[in-house]
Subunit: 282 residues, 4 copies
């Protein structure tokens, strides 16, 4: 829990995840956002060198549109394996596609990713879209990931999503340590604030590890708080394309480097990929 | 805000809302749950006598199924006007129907209800249903209610829904004092706990009035906390059919009576319907 | 802890302590405040009948001044034993006297009280007085109470006092379950508010039982919150002489009766003295 | 307040105070702790260059014992004025001395310090000492500082001390913006934790500026949180002699430098002495 983690936060290695690409904005938001497989792999390896131990992967087609094409994911996976293969690979299962389309990248690539997300939903997106999973979809995704040996990352956009996560735990569909992402700042995501971060984390079940994902200008302060609270951290262009107010980031690696520097100042050691595997039980 | 309201909670009248019927369970859950218009009106008037100042109305068809038939709502409204007409009438706009179907009871009855709900969603329901409104739907409902002079009650199932509510405020689609329902205990609703109630209420905007809605066994303790915090209270069979563990409630009025007795012990005066109108600016 | 206690608060019996007299104000504050032994015993027995399982005893001399005279305490103890002897007796060790004077009532009466307070201090009192115990005094009081088989009640006026309490625990001078009083509303006591009550209780060690003591108008709402949070409750003229705004209480028993009625409404059973002994391990 | 400050924390300059010496431990704790006037002045000027805008001054005699000798304070003040005179000077009024002895350094030096502390007490110290001020002493210190144009820094060791601070505010003895130090980790100080920091700050009055003072290993994480929450920060050997676990700090300036680097990473600009004066209204 939060208080105990705090007193020993320096003893737990910090997992830095990076989400280099995402499925929403592209080069129009930041020309340095990597879209094509080769660009993405370059960026991942640079982030690996900067301290990231997990990469959260989305793919784009040649026009830069969000795609679930397994071949594109395979191309990215191949590049990672060839060039910086010890990083933990996490494939998204989010976006406006059918269940089968969403799962194909996870189950039809070799090697399979070690982690894949489940968007415990639902959430409002834009003007007229409801994104996120029903209980049935969550159960199916968790069951099939368990069958394939892929550990789910439970994406919770607000504390209400912890109840559905608890359901998956009680059904035995996910196994400890549970790996949670706490999300701050989307439309029906939790309002980003220190108080809400404390309260969200205080609702987590025992045997949970968690990372903080906060959008835009909240990424920096809330991930720093998570570092102090004994949580972990996700950064990257999927969530935030700025380095500071009015200044676009040069690369995902620049954001990872800052996170690692802050962790170092706060005396929390940054986890290697193998240390991340040990923390998450993969 | 919470702390200030606390010091003067005895000075603000307590609005007791009652949700006699709901759209989910029926007499199989509690044989005393009123389904038909005459039953519902009987129950409403008894609740009115017990201290309720707002009634939240759902309708059922002759088989007890959830209906949006304006004539049934009219029949209930007629009964209320005839028998206990000073109570503030609040019509639901929730359920699995089209937008038009959901709004017809609000706009096609005479007199129109003074309040109607907007389920700021989305939420998971059961195994494979996502309920609740997109931003577009929320905007449309708020706009049309404003045009018809019906004040919206913003139903927020978790703190993530406050962001969408804030959007309606910023668009000028709802007017102060904003009337919020904070909901605890549904599938993707907030986990019911004192800490989560405090935190949820602490996120409300200025000029908000709010009531606590908690399901089942949490109804009693969390509504009591809301009474102390300066919030308001909703009880009734839609949310909870028990009087205490193992004992079904005899009537909605029995739950209202208990709430009024507790308010009286806590020295918080119970609002009359006209006092509720004054608090809510209707 | 707070959250877990909340979900099962109906399962733990509620200990109601009553502090009938105190050492500060007297009949000038409320003519019904009992000062002389016979009055005090009358009041204690009435409180016992109303649901109190612990009585916190102060004594006054014939002029109504605070006294530590063991004979007066013996006279009160005799009256209790004769007339309502199953109530748990708790003797104060507070006030501006020497250490020996403060302890004499505890160790020189027969039977000895089952509980006695230790004011984990210090606190500001009035214009130029610092009350409360140094570490040395706390250790001595705890050690001697342990030798005499008297369980200490740890009076903590603000969360800072929990650190000194923890010291007593670590030295083995007090034994679980630890019995804490959380105090709200004195000069350097915690500001009374729901948020501060939640936070104070969240800092308690494992194996703690606690009661809420709040002064004046905060007694009613904060003790009701403690009832919901799984804590216990202290009421009485030492802390509050009013029944409601502008109306003095008729008796301590009137305050106990209200507490018991509220507990009953909240479905939390009131502990008998023997059930209180079981909860506190005495 | 906390939440609002958070959203704009990057817009408020960060005041870094440094407490180079203190009155408790000396060179036996860290041989780099400055004790003699020349050493202290050297250290202050280095801290000034590193980003400190306020220096909190204690003095020692030739044997290194805590002293209130005005001449020693004058010697330090002279050195500061000569060598780094724009830093805001804050003289302690704490320690086991008479009221007059405590105040002499403040009122008998030229120029007088711009700030001086008032230990809103009381607190337990060591085995058998109660430190800190009664209400009368607090009032006298505040009144005399107001007469001499010295702004008081209200040292609050736990949230209970805010009530006495509020009393000074209500008596008009201190003027806005009120300058608070929130202290974590002494004997009857608040238990250091992120939750307790949030709660303590949430109890501050309007028009308050505050800095976080945390002892030992809590200095680094809690001052970082304060930076995010919109508070200010105090570091230095009085509170913490380590740079990291097992490694003594080389100088006070090394701690200030780290604080400034973290502020820079978090994009919060560090206040110059004149900017600190503007924030504090001096
Ligand atoms: Zn993603
Ligand atoms: Zn409804
Ligand atoms: Zn007492
Ligand atoms: Zn000092």
């Amino acid at each position: 829990m939060v208080f105990d983690d705090y007193r020993s936060y320096r003893d737990e290695k910090l997992i830095i995840s990076v989400a280099t690409t995402g499925g929403f904005h592209g080069k129009e938001a930041n020309p340095n956002l990597p879209e094509q497989p080769a660009e993405i792999v370059d960026e991942i390896c640079a982030c690996r060198d900067a301290g990231a131990s997990i990469v959260h992967v989305h793919a784009r087609d040649e026009e830069g549109n969000h795609t679930k094409d397994p071949e594109t994911f395979q191309e990215i996976q191949d590049g990672i394996q060839e060039r910086c293969g010890d990083i933990v690979v996490n494939f998204t299962t989010g976006g406006s596609f059918t269940r089968e389309e969403l799962l194909r990248p996870v189950f039809e690539t070799e090697p399979k990713p070690e982690l894949a997300t489940i968007d415990i939903g639902p959430v409002s997106l834009g003007q007229d879209l409801i994104g996120g999973n029903s209980r049935d979809k969550n159960e199916e995704f968790a069951r099939r990931m368990r069958e394939h040996g892929v550990k789910p990352e439970l994406e919770t956009f607000n504390p209400g999503h912890l109840t559905e996560s608890q359901h998956l735990i009680e059904e035995g569909l996910v196994e400890p340590p549970y790996w949670f992402t706490l999300i701050f700042g989307m439309q029906t995501g939790t309002v980003p604030s220190p108080q809400n971060l404390m309260n969200f984390a205080a609702n987590l079940p025992d045997e949970a590890e968690w990372q903080c994902l906060a959008l835009g200008r909240d990424q920096l302060p809330l991930t720093t708080m998570a570092t102090i609270l004994g949580g972990h951290v996700r950064v990257g262009f999927e969530d935030n394309v700025y380095y500071q107010r009015g200044e676009l980031a040069e690369s995902n690696a620049q954001l990872v480097e800052r996170t690692a520097r802050i962790a170092d100042e706060l005396q929390r050691p940054v986890a290697t990929p193998d240390e991340a595997r040990e923390i998450l039980g993969i």
